[in-house]
Structure formats: C-alpha cells, structure tokens
Amino acid sequence: MSAVTESIAPIAADRRLSLRARLALRGLDGVTLLVLPAVIFVIALFVYPFVYGFVLSLQPKAGDWLANYRKFFSEPFLYDTIAATLWLAVPATLINTTISIPVAMRVRLMHRRRILTTILVIPITLGTVLIAEGLLAYLGPQGWFNRVLMLFGIIHSPVRLVHNYTGVMLSLILSGFPFTFLLTLSYLTGIDPSLEQAASTLGANARARFWHILMPLLAPGLAINLCLSFVQTFSVFPSAVLLGAPAGATRVISIAAYQAAYEQYDYSMASTIAMIMGFVQLIIVAAILSGRSFVYRGATAGGKG
C-alpha cells in the first residue's frame, strides 16, 4: 500500500522503495514468471534451430561462407524453385481467400452453421496425405471423375488432372480453403450487423454495402488470412510430391531442400535453401502487413451496445 502512495511522490522517494516494489511499478511481478515456460519453448524450438540453421548455411562443404547462396542463385535448377513455389502459393492463397468471402457471407446468415462448419473442417483434420490419396483415386485417369465425364460423352479420353500443376493446386485449395473460410467467417461475424442495416437505410444497395462497409472492416482480417494461408501453401511438400510433378512443374522449394538434405546429405546447402525460403516468405508477409497498416484496424462495432 505504501508503495502505491510513494510512487506518486517525487523520484527522490524512489530510493526508499524495495526492489520488488520498483519492479512492480514497471509491471514486473510474480505473475511475470508465468511467461518463462513459453519463452523457453520458443527459444528451444524456434530461435535455437533458426540460428543453428543460419550458421550452418554459412559453413558450406566447399568454398567461402557465401558459397551456398551464390550456388543457389546461379543454378536455374535451384533458383527456379522459388518461382515454381510462388506460382502455386500465390494463386492458391488468392483463390482460397477470395472464395472464402462470399461463402462466409452466406454461411453467416444460416441457422445450421455448425453442421456446415464441421463438414468444412474435416479436410483440415484429415491432413494433406489422405487428401492426396483421395484425389489420386478420384481424379486419376481411371478415377470416377474421368469415367463419369466419358460416360456422358463430354470427353473422349481421360483429362490429366494429377501428377501435374492442376493436381497440386486442387489439393492446396481443398486443404487450405476450410482454414481460410473459418478465419474469414470469424472476422465477418465480428462485424456488427447493424452497420449494414444502417447503410441500407442510408440508400446503400448490397454492392455498395459490401464495398463501403464490409470490405474496409474485413480488410485487416483478410490481410492476416492472406499471410497465414500464404505461409501454409508456400511450404507445400506432400501434395507437390504425391499429386504433382516433383521433377518438373511442381518442383517446389521444399523439395529442393529435401533433396539437398537427404539425397546429397549436404545439410549446409539444405539450410541455405531453408533460409532463402524463409526470406521469401518474410518479404511477402511484410508486404501484406505493410499494406494492412493503410486500412482502418479498430473496432468493428458502431458504438456502444
């Protein structure tokens, strides 16, 4: 109690306070210790491996400390993987996020929201490998999809949908959409519905309400959604191998890292590729988040209530 009264007094009085009281004034007390397990976890499982990998990437098998980076950016076989990955990750992210908006807007008004949400969440719990297996069987040359189309005479020979770019893209959409949808839905339901009602009484039709009210309030959430979805798709590995052409169009950056580590046993090179991968992700995420800082990010309710 005395600490509280003295804190109002001039700084000279500060000397008389115990260390504990002075720390408490800066917001550090016993409760602060609760943060320790989390800090240890982050250091052990994120900071340490990251720093270790970074140092490893600067210790190549041969050449000076930057040799691995120089090698990566001089061999098309390696640096092309960045473009190949972006070519998958960017469209998949944009498609997922864009489709999630109208779907979430519709679902928001439904009464049996939970059933639909559950159905959509199942792909997340299944994991990419099971989805890949399913797609291989369903979309393959002898799969149901091609058979039905041929039965009705729409096509005459099977369409190639797996072991190429399309297969990986479909899998990314299937496994990524539920995630983006759930995020968008939660952001959307957080917007006070009376704002749209107010806009409609002021003469705004559905289109104007969407662009003037919903989108500006949804934008910060969509930016986060884009970031998470992008990071997820950028590190695509199982579906690129199982459903794609891992030696060709879908030779993504994580495949290059895998090959360096487990086929050439060059951990230093693998770390270099992982570092470059992280750097590309960082650039894109930073770009999205800096765009986010230009839009309104406050409350999404229109006053007290």
Partner: protein, 354 residues
C-alpha cells in the same frame, strides 16, 4: 433552412403484421402519421415496438398488411429504396469513417456532387452542434456525441420519416435529458415525421405529439400525452403510464356516486370502461395518493425512499394490500398513515387485474 424533410402528407400503416414462426410479433397495426408529427411507440420490452420500427425501415418484411406514403405503397421496397432516416439503439456509426464521412454517406449514395455533400454535412454538423469534431473517428467521441452523429447522419438525407430506436437508452441520466430537448428541437427544425421507440413513459410524454401504447403486438391506445397521462383507456396502459397501484376491487353505486372497496375502506372513483357494478381494477398513481388525516385508507409504512421533493413510500393496508404513495413530510417505517385521493384520479376499469 436547407435541410428540410421531403414533402409528404401522411404515412399510413394498414393492418401491418409480422410473424416470427408461430409468434405474432405484430398483430395488424393501423396508424396514420401526419407530416411534422412526433409519434412515440411506447411499451414494455417484447411488445413489438422495435419490430414495428424495423418493418417501417424495411429491415423486416411484413407478413401481412401494407404501408403507404401518401398514394405510394412502400412495404415492398427495400430499405435503400425507402429513404427513411434511422437512428439505431447502438448508433451503428461506421467505425472506419470520420464523422464527416459518416454523415455524408447517405448523400454519397445518392451521388450528389462533392460540393453539395460538403455543404449539407456542414449544416447537419451545425444542427447537432458538432462542428469541431468533423474529422474524428466515432471511437474518439463520447456517447452523447456519437448519438448526435447518428442523428445528423439520419437527417442529412432529408427523409420524410425519421425512425429512432431507443436512441437515449445508452446515455447517462443528465445527457438523456439534454438529448431529449435536442431531438425535439431537430424534429421541429427539419419538419419530418418522427417515430420514436421507447419503453420510458417519461420520455414519451415529454417528446411526443401522440403516443402509441403497444402491448403483445397490438396497439392498446393512441392519444396525446395528456390524454394518456390522465385517462388511460385500459388497466394495462395505466400500469405502463405510472399507475403503480392496481387493485382488484368491487364497484358499488351509492348515493354520492360510484365507489370501490379498497383495503377494507370505501373510495370514490371515476369509471373508465365500467358500466354497472361488479369486479373491477382500480388504478391510482402514487403521486396522487397523499397523506390526509381524514383519508379513507389506513396503511402502515413499510419503506420510504427520499426523492428530493417528496418521499416515495410503500405501505400495507390492514388486509395486506401493498400500496404506493407519496408523502410531503418525512415518514418513518412502521408509522400509521391515512391516505386520500381525488375521486377524479381514482380510475376504475372493468375486470380483475391481469
């Protein structure tokens, strides 16, 4: 004055009904509102007053009946086609827009020129006395200021009808009184018809030209504040208009007029819808039941609240009936008092209290 309501003669609700599943939230509301009128929809929560307002705004569709603005049927129009101004209970200000853009939104939707929008918004700002706050975001304003932005936003589109849904319920008592006067002033300034939903009888009495008392989806009584205050047509309306004392009683006709039995005593009163003798409900406002040495009703004081000018007391008669009354002098718990009321102010309704 540049901001003035679009011209119309009258708004007519013809058997306006709305069901939610099996629940009849509105059971055939008939009402005609003239231009310039201030109408209060008054009733307890769940009486359908907000549903009625949302139906007028177009936010809810009707289950049956129609709404007419002069010769035009409007109940099938979408809210954006009706052009009514609406003030929401939680204000519903667009949090990402400045005060100026919030107010200008309706004009922007009408594709008015930039210069016109700026001019009208300035006028609306000066009407609600918020000229200096134009560039702030709603989140930076106090509750009363947000309320005024919401009003400015609704009136700047010059609507024939302004709808207000309990706009003062989120404000503190002092601000509520101030805003009440503001709302009435703005209403008179722009000359629109205002329909104002409230559950506060005092607010309705002080603001409205006519009060529509609703209960369970029906209109129970329409009248001027004075009519409703002095002569509620039904016992339930009386209860809502501050007649806290509602007693089950029996009417008998004597030599000196009609009297009722109350707490063992006989009291003279005025019948409202009562003919003959029989079971009845007696309604008396606490402030019209005063202590008098020769009063017919004897009661023991159970509690007394000091209300500044007088004491608001709860008493109990010999037969155990609770009775609310006002005392000018301090009274003590347990004290015996005698109470009297003007026969004109003792209202008698047919049937037992609900």
């Amino acid at each position: 004055m540049a901001i003035a309501a679009r011209d119309f003669r009258e708004l007519r609700l013809d058997a306006m009904s709305r069901n939610f599943g099996a629940l009849n939230a509105l059971k055939g509301i008939n009402l005609t509102v003239q231009r310039g009128e201030f109408i209060a929809l008054l009733g307890p929560s769940g009486c359908g007053k907000s549903t009625a307002l949302n139906c007028l705004a177009g936010l809810l569709t009707l289950s049956a009946g129609s709404i007419w603005l002069d010769k035009t049927r409007i109940d099938e129009l979408k809210p954006e086609q009706r052009g009514f101004g609406m003030v929401f209970q939680n204000y519903a200000l667009f949090p990402h827009m400045s005060v100026r853009r919030n107010i200008g939104f309706g004009l922007q939707m009408q594709r008015r020129s930039k210069a016109e929008v700026a001019r009208k918004v300035d006028e609306a700002l000066s009407i609600v006395r918020l000229g200096t706050q134009a560039e702030k975001l709603p989140g930076q304003l106090s509750g009363g200021q947000q309320q005024r932005v919401a009003i400015a936003r609704a009136i700047v589109i010059e609507p024939p009808l302004v709808l207000m849904d309990e706009p003062l319920s989120n404000l503190d008592a002092k601000l509520r009184l101030e805003m009440r006067a503001e709302i009435r002033r703005i209403h008179e300034l722009i000359g629109s018809a205002t329909i104002y939903v409230t559950h506060d009888q005092e607010e309705a009495l002080s603001l409205a030209d006519r009060i529509v008392v609703m209960r369970e989806g029906e209109v129970r009584q329409v009248g001027t504040p004075a009519e409703l205050y002095a002569k509620p047509a039904h016992a339930d309306v009386a209860e809502f208009m501050g007649y806290r004392n509602l007693f089950r009683s029996r009417v008998s006709k004597g030599g000196d007029g009609i009297s009722v039995t109350l707490g063992g005593a006989s009291l003279r009163g005025t019948p409202i819808d009562m003919t003959g003798e029989g079971e009845a409900t007696v309604a008396i406002r606490p402030d019209e039941l005063h202590a008098a040495s020769d009063g017919p009703i004897a009661a023991t004081v159970e509690s007394a609240q000091y209300h500044g000018r007088d004491f608001y007391c709860l008493g109990r008669t010999a037969d155990g009936t609770q009775i609310y009354f006002c005392a000018k002098q301090p009274v003590q718990k347990g004290e015996s008092v005698r109470l009297a009321a003007d026969p004109q102010r003792v209202l008698i309704y047919a049937g037992a209290p609900a």
